[in-house]
């Protein structure tokens, strides 16, 4: 599969094909202009070589139409590059709705991947053929970059936030996974393999081996273990917002702003609870920084996501705050009925 001498990388996704078409256009433009320049230089250099010390030179100082032509024509060609490049980029940036989600955590110097079904891998990723895969990625330490040349996919994995990449494998096989952002001593050892399996084979792989419980249920256990459920109750009004139906909804904050409860929001709420406080609630939640790992966070997020898919149980929580909990230094508007959860 990997010949010792190749000029073009493997094309294992539809995006790869689209990108390679763009590449051909770019190469065509480059070939045309470099050939033109090289040929002109060569021809002029030979034809007008100096034959005597006093020969007359042609006096052409400038020519406006020529200047305009060689400014406008390359610019036109470059605007095609821009538009084409942007359209491929949008394709790369927008995972389809039906994509299966896989979580990736980078750390010095390994890749940890988690399937929703619970399988975890290190420096490997098994995916089924023909199904779009969406990666939600973060890093435990420094910036890494998840790079799969065969799919033409690369995106930085940044500590403190989530990033997204996606691909749709169209060819079974084993492909390189690289870290493309320099991350320290063993940067070149932070490599692995992506294995694209036939769907049936993938199901077999999922069923066997280290399959544990699903990410969401690991998250639920963690939720209970960390005693989150003491305040974030789903059965009756609690001191903290009800998390049912939270994920993906709009949340009104005490500052009057509205934010969408996405992965980043949930993550920030667990680590920096005071940063965004839901209208109608107090800043009473302790930080969990240092107590949960990035992988734990992803499990918690998956659990909270799973709550969003279930119909909300019981009535929406009413945010009544015991007066004793009001804390010095926080000025909050009078408690209002909160439809939205908080941290």
């Amino acid at each position: 599969m990997n010949p010792q001498f190749q000029l073009f990388p493997e094309q294992a996704s539809a995006t790869a094909v689209h990108l390679d078409h763009l590449t051909l256009y770019l190469l065509g433009v480059a070939a045309f202009f470099s050939t033109l320049i090289f040929a002109l230089i060569f021809v002029f250099a030979v034809k007008y070589r100096r034959r005597s010390a006093h020969e007359r030179v042609g006096e052409i100082g400038h020519a406006l139409p020529l200047e305009i032509a060689w400014s406008v024509i390359p610019f036109g060609l470059m605007m095609i590059m821009f538009t084409w490049g942007a359209s491929v980029f949008f394709e790369m940036s927008r995972p389809p709705d039906d994509a299966m989600n896989i979580y990736v955590v980078g750390k010095q110097w390994m890749w940890k991947t988690q399937h929703l079904e619970g399988q975890r891998e290190i420096n490997e990723l098994h995916v089924p053929l023909g199904r779009p895969v969406r990666l939600t990625m973060t890093s435990e330490d420094v910036i890494h970059s998840f790079y799969m040349p065969a799919f033409r996919v690369k995106f930085d994995v940044v500590p403190g936030k989530y990033t997204t990449a996606w691909f749709n494998p169209t060819k079974p096989g084993k492909y390189h996974l690289f870290c493309a952002e320099y991350c320290g001593t063993l940067h070149s050892g932070m490599i692995g393999w992506i294995e694209v399996l036939e769907p049936a084979e993938y199901e077999r792989w999922l069923a066997g081996g280290n399959a544990g419980e699903s990410l969401a249920s690991s998250g639920q256990k963690l939720f209970e273990y960390l005693a989150c459920a003491n305040c974030h109750r789903t059965d009756k009004p609690g001191r903290c917002p009800n998390l049912t139906g939270l994920f993906g909804s709009k949340v009104q904050l005490t500052t009057g702003e509205t934010v969408t409860a996405d992965e980043a929001y949930v993550r920030e709420s667990i680590l920096h609870p005071g940063a965004k406080i839901v209208a109608g609630y107090q800043d009473i939640m302790p930080t969990f920084q240092g107590q949960v790992t990035e992988e734990d966070l992803l499990q918690l997020i998956e659990y909270i996501k799973s709550l969003a898919k279930q119909p909300a149980q019981g009535a929406t929580a009413l945010g009544a705050i015991p007066p004793g909990l009001a804390r010095r230094g926080t000025t909050l508007p009078p408690a209002a009925p909160a439809k939205n959860p908080k941290r």
Partner: protein
């Protein structure tokens, strides 16, 4: 125009205005005007800065070249802020983390 000597009297007027504006901006800072606080504070700061640049630093009487230098310094700063904020403020517009 070899030299334009600004008199102490002219300086005194500018000085008075600057002190007054400092007082006003502090007083307004103590009131809660919501979003207006930012606007007022920055507008007053810009007015004060202009007074200093124009009169204390003699830009009002200076050559075109000096003005170009001043404007470029500020324009480049605006560039840095503008293009950085282009990214920071538009994060997440596509609806996917990191996009």
């Amino acid at each position: 125009m070899a030299e334009h000597i600004v008199t102490k009297k002219q300086y005194s007027f500018v000085f008075g205005a600057l002190l007054l504006l400092t007082f006003v901006t502090t007083a307004v800072g103590m009131m809660d005007l919501g979003r207006l606080n930012v606007v007022v504070a920055l507008v007053i700061a810009v007015i004060k800065a202009m007074l200093v640049v124009l009169f204390f630093m003699h830009i009002y009487w200076s050559t075109k070249l000096t003005r170009v230098v001043v404007v470029s310094g500020l324009a480049w700063l605006a560039l840095l802020l503008w293009l950085t904020l282009t990214d920071v403020l538009s994060r997440g517009w596509l609806g996917f983390p990191g996009k």
